[in-house]
Subunit: 134 residues, 4 copies
DNA sequence: GTGGTCTAGACCACG
DNA sequence: GTGGTCTAGACCACG
């Protein structure tokens, strides 16, 4: 699992880990059932404190992204969101609105935002091949 | 300028001000050249610390959203983004990718994300009419 | 806020705090909007580490029981659960089944469990009086 | 004896075994005098560590659920709780109160809790018939 | 080996 | 003043 901590990033270290793991899961570089490094290994690799690594994993578990098994490390969880459809929609709309505000300040017109979104979908959800799990 | 501070929001107050001013500019409730309240007035209206209001304005200026003319208060800056098209595109893609990662974890399929984005564009870019509150 | 840590309890300290605060909210000894002690105060009073107290408050916030405001301590949150009705029902059934298993081992018949439950409801949801918020 | 270990459950394996055996006894799928597998067999079947299985049986014995006769394996103990009525009532009330606290936070009203409890009693105390799997 | 808890103590952001 | 982050390091539970 290839993570990079940027100490100049104002985002806390544990949040950088959380975001990057979520991104790896979202782009299917990590799939349900895949093992992730132990907290100790991750901490050593990233040269961060064990507690910081543990906090990231705990948040990922609370978010349903990882599952931790009895002294056997963590794996990527199966899906199955715990939120109502309304709640999920509400959360995504917050994210979309934030993006639209940014687009306006970047002077990128709405149609172009839609076009770029479709681009990114095409790029990030790349074709599963034979043998890949859907 | 109608801003609302949510004390239970984990986002710092100054950042809430920044985001909301940007949103008002983005939805054209505030337009280039429009005056915004003085730091002192804003602090009094929102009942926040004057330093907090000052920090927000300072960030908005750094972002090119406001312009402060010595002793004459601040106004919404003319557009004229300072970044290249490539840089602007790059920044929006970061935001879109973040949204797509979230959509994946919320188990909202890409087509639905596009549909919701188009919804939000329709809703948020509706031209404010005379009498509308900012 | 009167909490008691039992060092001989196998439940971690932070979880004892969480449970007791939840109980105080459930029996309306703490109501939405009420302030709770600062993390530093709580830690000093209970003679536990600040980090341990912070962890308890963070979990309570994640659970929607507390809201933390900008450097101004925490207050009891307004209601508004974030889970679907199915999820909420599922969680309560887990708790009820656990109770029924325990009742069986205590050789307390089901009808008596229902009777005791009704007793506890009567005792713990004591009459709101005029002026009390519903 | 049909037990299922869920490795993603945060409850330790030995506790899962304890809870499930208690549940089987509670729903009368296991009755006083019934033999349970040896520690060695249980460990092999569930593919868990032999020490883990031993710890579960030891706790079940301490709780008066199993009885081990030297060299003859373990059987489900006769009822005959060792506690006074007051003590047994006190323990169940702890469990009921915990459930009521949870119901409050799930915003499930007390009457609904009673209704759900009655449902669960109806469902869980249905007498197992010949041919039913334990 | 694995993760979880707790402490002591530093330092920072916010207001 | 408030809470949040991070480290170093100890000790424990689980298997």
């Amino acid at each position: 699992m290839d993570l990079r901590i940027d100490p100049s990033n104002s985002l806390p270290i544990y949040a950088q880990v959380v975001d990057q793991v979520k991104a790896l899961v979202a782009c299917r570089a990590l799939r349900p059932g895949d093992a992730v490094p132990s907290i100790r290994d991750l901490a050593a690799t990233l040269r961060i404190n064990r507690n910081t690594a543990a906090k990231a994993y705990q948040l990922l578990e609370a978010d349903g992204v990882l599952e931790t098994r009895q002294g056997q490390g963590s794996v990527v969880a199966e899906g199955g969101t715990r939120w109502s459809w309304e709640e999920r929609r509400r959360r995504l709309v917050v994210s979309l609105d934030r993006t639209l505000v940014e687009a306006h300040h970047l002077e990128i017109p709405p149609e172009e935002v839609v076009r770029l979104l479709e681009d990114r979908i095409r790029i990030t959800t790349r074709r599963p091949r034979a043998g890949d799990k859907a």
